[in-house]
Structure formats: C-alpha cells, structure tokens
C-alpha cells in the first residue's frame, strides 16, 4: 500500500512539474508576443487607439477580443478592400467615426497576431518601485524656518522647566540634610500665587527687567511686522486642482512657455486656459494610479469644460471655469512686464542670477518651480528687491535688437537728425493709458 501511495505521489509530482513547466514556457512565448505586440501597438496604433477606452478609434481590448482573428487581420491590412467587397461586418465597423483608419499593408500576419495578443492581455502591471521612488522626493526643504522657530521656543520652555525642577529638588535635599543634622526648620509658609506675583512686582529690579523684556519683545515684533507687511514670500494657497509643477515641469520636462505662452510675448505670464490642459489630458488620465478610474484631479478639468470622457464631447452649457488662486500679485501702481525680462533681459538676468543653461530664465525670480509640488511665492517681489537687481545687473547689450534700436536713436540725436517721440516708444499704448 505504501509503495502505491509513493508511486502515485511521484507521478503526481512529475505531472505537476510538467504542467508548471509547460505553463511557464507557454506564458514565456506569449510574453514574447505581447512585448513585440506592445511595441508595434505603440508605433502604429496608439496615435488613434487606446486599450480600454475609445479615442479616435474604438478601445482595442474589447474590440479585438470580440472580433474573429482572421477578420481583424484582413481589416488592419486593408479595411477599405473589405468595405468595397461588401463585407457587412466591415461596413458596420467603418461607421465608428468619420475619421478613416490608416491601412497597414506592411504589417505581417504574425505581427498583427502579436498586436492582438497584446491587446487581449492588456497593459502589464507595473511594480510599485517606480511609484515609491517618485513619491520619496516630496516634502523636506520647505517649512525649515517654522520648524526651527518652534524648536527654539521648545528648548527655552524645556530649560525653564528643568531649572525649576532642579531648584525644587536642591531645596528639598538641603532641607533633608538639615533635618538629619537635627536642625529644626520652621515650616515654610505657603505663599499663594497671587501673593507671590504681587511681591515680585514690588521688587524694583524685577519690574525694570520685566519692562525691558517687554520693550525688546514688542519692539522686535513690531519691527519684523513692519518689514514683512505686504511681503508675500512663501505664500502657498491651496488651489482648486492639485496641479503639481514638480510633475509637469520636473518629471515630464514640459517647458514653462508651453502653458505660460504669454510670458515671452506680453506683460502677463498668463494662466493657461483649460484647452491647453486638454492637449495632453484628452488621453493622459492617470488611470493606472486610480484602479482604472480617471484621476479625480484630471476629472476636475473635464468638469470645468463640460467634457464627457466616455463620448469625448464637450457640453458648453456645463462649462464652469476653474477659479485658480493668484499667488504672485503686484500692487496696481507697480508696472511689471514679463516679456521685457524674459526676452530682452534674458542673458543679463541669467548671468546675474547664475542660472545653468538648462534652467529656464523664469527660475531667476520664481525659484526652482520644477521641484514645487504646490506653487509658492519664492521671491519677495518688494520694491527693494527690484531696485537691488536693477542696480547690480550688467546689461548684455551685444546682439540685442532692443539696445541696437536705442543706440541707433542716440546716434541720430548726436548727428542732429530729426527724432520723434515715436522713435522712443512714444506710440506704446501703455505710455499714456493704464
């Protein structure tokens, strides 16, 4: 009996091993197909198709799972021939969208099978390593000043407590020693707190010291308060959408100008309108981070535009603009022009602030925006701050059309030629109108 059970067990084991191995090899060959199919999909199909949601073309995972493989191959190679031949299924499929699909006669049957295998298998799940690495770099750096102030206060309070406790202990010990020596001590009369303070304030030295402390504290508080009045450095209001500059300008390396196009051609840097968001977020929905659901933050863009991601249509009546909170704000009597600084003054500012060649000129005043998960005001934007930079910065005149014009006008003045206010920018609207 025992032998039989042993043999059965052995057979069972080998069968199991065989099964496991075959599964492994099968999945390995399939993985090969899927990897190859994924590459082909990305190169050829992805500009119009996504796996799980409709875009220009239908979602491919359900479509290719449902379709007969032979039909799918014929369709992908040349769908028009199928339609022209009067294939009912093909005519039905061609009605999905007015945008015509590109024919792919170059793809071989094997390649198309790989694409189908990839579409059926879906996107392989990524490991969490990448996500963890991305999240680790947040925090730190900011809030140092607040933290250090709180630390100093805590240390002061702690040392006072320690001193008081030690003083009490010493007194107790002294009394004990004296008692042991047989000295009879009169019971210490307990003094009420109010009584004690009253006595303290009768002491002239203490009152003087107290008033001195009061003047120093009040004075420095008032002084600091006055200097920081209207200075918004570090202002970091929470925004209606948790837009991360760290992700967009840092990880994704999108240039500042892509969204803030106005900064290089006008006074204002301009907050991008939501259509600029949609250039990418029509397809980027971060579904992999939200279990296949659209990221709630990206959904807010869709809500603002009245956009329905399922049908990919806009409903104008549902539009509700995003109310961003303004961070950088100059008082109305100060005129600041972005383009004057980012275009005319770019070289000079780069040199003065020591920016690296790969850093945008914007960093000079806005700080390392590509590390700010939530945007905050980096520079004080005070008059003193402006003036100091204008005093120190050396202008880069060479090869700068702006200064060429000034030099040209000055040459004319030297020669005694006719100069009109228009030559000196006298036709700029802003010279007279606010």
């Amino acid at each position: 009996m025992r032998d039989i059970s042993l043999i059965v067990r052995r057979v069972w084991k080998s069968a199991f091993m065989f099964a496991a191995l075959s599964v492994l090899t099968v999945s390995a060959t399939q993985a090969q197909d899927v990897v190859e199919g994924r590459k082909l999909f990305k190169d050829n199909c992805a500009s119009c198709h996504q796996l799980t949601s409709n875009s220009t073309g239908p979602a491919l995972t359900p479509k290719l799972t449902e379709l007969d493989e032979a039909f799918a191959i014929k369709w992908i190679k040349n769908w028009k021939a199928l339609v022209d031949a009067g294939d009912k299924e093909a005519i039905e499929a061609s009605k999905f969208s007015p945008a015509e699909m590109t024919a792919f006669p170059r793809l071989t049957d094997e390649q198309i099978k790989n694409i189908i295998a990839y579409a059926k298998a879906g996107e392989p799940k990524k490991t969490d390593a990448a996500g963890a690495a991305g999240g680790a770099s947040t925090g730190a750096s900011d809030g140092v000043s607040d933290f250090s102030i709180a630390g100093v206060i805590a240390i002061v309070i702690l040392s006072i407590v320690v001193l008081v406790v030690l003083g009490r202990a010493i007194k107790m010990l002294e009394r004990l020693i004296l008692q042991k020596q047989g000295v009879v001590l009169p019971e210490e009369e307990s003094v009420s707190f109010a009584e004690g303070t009253r006595k303290m304030f009768k002491n002239k030295k203490f009152v003087f010291f107290f008033i001195l402390c009061l003047i120093i504290a009040l004075g420095s508080y008032g002084w600091m308060g006055m200097w920081n009045t209207g200075v918004h450095t570090g202002y970091q209001p929470s925004q209606p959408i948790k837009f991360s500059h760290e992700l967009h300008a840092g990880t994704n390396q999108i240039d500042c100008q892509y969204c803030h196009a106005g900064a290089f051609k006008s006074k204002n840097a301009t907050i991008p309108s939501a259509n600029v968001c949609m250039n990418c977020h029509k397809s980027v929905q971060a579904t992999e981070k939200y279990d296949g659901e659209i990221s709630p933050e990206i959904q807010k863009i869709y809500n603002a535009l009245g956009y329905d991601p399922a049908t990919m249509t806009y409903d104008k009546t549902k539009e509700k603009p995003i109310e961003w909170v303004r961070v950088h704000n100059l008082p109305d009597f100060a005129y600041f022009n972005h383009s004057q600084h980012t275009v005319v003054g770019e070289e000079a500012i780069r040199k003065e602030k020591g920016l690296k060649p790969n850093e945008p000129v914007c960093f000079a005043c806005h700080g390392p925006v590509n590390t700010m998960e939530e945007i905050y005001q980096f520079s004080p934007l005070t008059m003193k701050w402006c003036i100091n930079c204008h005093k120190d910065t050396k202008l880069e005149v060479k090869g700068n059309a702006f200064y060429d014009k000034i030099i040209e006008t000055h040459e004319k003045i030297k020669k005694g030629e006719k100069i009109t206010p228009a030559a000196l920018g006298g036709l700029e609207c802003g010279k007279c109108h606010y």
Binding site: K42, D43, C45, A46, S47, C48, S55, T56, A99, E100, T102, R106, D146, I149, A150, I153, T197, R198, F201, F210, L214, L218, Y221, G225, T229, G230, V231, H232, G234, Y235, Q236, P237, T251, N252, Q253, I254, D255, Q257, Y258, A261, N268, I271, S273, N275, V276, M278, N279, C280, K282, S283, V284, P321, W324, R326, L330, P331, D332, F333, Y376, Y434
Partner: protein, 203 residues
C-alpha cells in the same frame, strides 16, 4: 466702569498684558502659508480697474475675463478661416495654403525654439516621434517626420506633408494632438512649419 478698571490691581493689568503679548509672539511665529500675512492697503492689490483674474459683479458670470464677442480679433491679428476643420478643409489647405514666411535663419531659429517647446515633448527635438513624454510612456504612437515609410493617418507619407497640411494640423489638431491655435499665433505657426519642413528632410 472705567473707575473700577483703574482701581484694579496694577500688577494684574501688567500680567495680563504680558500674557497677551507672549501669546501674540507665539502665534505670529508660525506663519500660515495660506495667508498673505499682514497687509497694508489691500485695495492696492485689488484695483478698481479690475485685473483679468478678479471677480467682477458687472458681468452675469462674475468674471472679468470675458470671451471676446464672435467675429472679433485683436489689432494686427490676421486669421483666415476659409479652411475648416474637416477632411475637405485639410486637403484644400494642403493644396492652396502656401508658407509666405521667408526662410531666413532668424525665422528658422524662432521656429526651432517654438517647435522644441510646443511640439518637442511628443514629436522629439529631432522630429523622430521620440519626445520625452513618449520615452517615459505618457504618450505613444507619435509619428516620425522623416521616416521614409511612416504614413500619415490622413493619407500620404509624413515626410511628404505639405506646408498647408502641417499648418492646418497645428491650428486644429488631429487624433490625439490638440489644437495649438491658442498657444501659437498664425505667424508663429508658419515659423514652426518652416522648421518641421526642415525636419522632414532629415535622414
């Protein structure tokens, strides 16, 4: 009331004021990031003339920045709307629209800069469809401009696209690409077209 206040123990007044001061110092030490801090004359920041981002009760939707009325254009802005965003409009633009932007080094450099900023994230700085966003797999299926075999989704090869077709695509977008009409003025678009046509010649 006042008499009784004065009659109160002086020491108590001093003590109370000290406590208030101490708490004020402690509270002011932790600055609130959500607040702009102490401000003098806030109305200087919210001018009567309305900044574009200020709320405005004079308009029904409460915004200062209003959508411009239909059929209006800023001074100096020339835009032809004769080629609509349809297949026919695209084909017609491809045949009839000519790039009048002169092919100078300055225009080409400007076009290159705008291309790298606006198009480079996906199309790649060399026009090979391998921009940073493609490499990190945020986007895929971006065609190369100079691949000898790469077909456009609207017919023809990518490297044979005419200036008019490229302009039409920048203005209206196609497939997953959005419209760049709000980010690039017509002149800027033509400069980008100049540069893209250079990329088409690359090997």
């Amino acid at each position: 009331m006042k008499g009784s206040m004065l009659a109160m123990n002086k020491n108590k007044v001093v003590l109370a004021s000290f406590c208030i001061l101490a708490s004020a110092v402690v509270f002011s030490a932790c600055r609130d990031k959500e607040s702009t801090g102490l401000e003098y004359a806030r109305n200087m920041y919210d001018p009567l003339a309305y900044n574009p981002d200020q709320p405005n009760k004079n308009f029904a939707n409460g915004q200062t920045a209003q959508t411009p009325p239909a059929h209006t254009a800023p001074v100096g802005f020339v835009e032809d709307d004769i080629y609509p965003n349809t297949k026919e409009g695209y084909e017609a633009a491809g045949v009839n629209l000519v790039n009048t932007m002169p092919l100078t080094e300055e225009n080409l450099l400007k076009g290159q800069h705008l291309y790298v900023v606006m198009c480079g994230p996906c199309h790649g700085e060399k026009g090979d469809g391998q921009g940073h966003l493609v490499k990190i797999e945020k986007f895929s299926g971006v065609p190369s401009f100079h691949d000898p075999e790469k077909a456009s989704s609207r017919g023809g090869l990518m490297k044979d696209l005419t200036a008019g077709k490229i302009y039409h695509t920048i203005k209206y977008g196609v497939n997953m690409m959005g419209s760049y009409a709000s980010q690039l003025s017509p002149d800027e678009r033509w400069k980008v077209v100049l540069y893209v046509q250079e990329l088409q010649k690359a090997k």
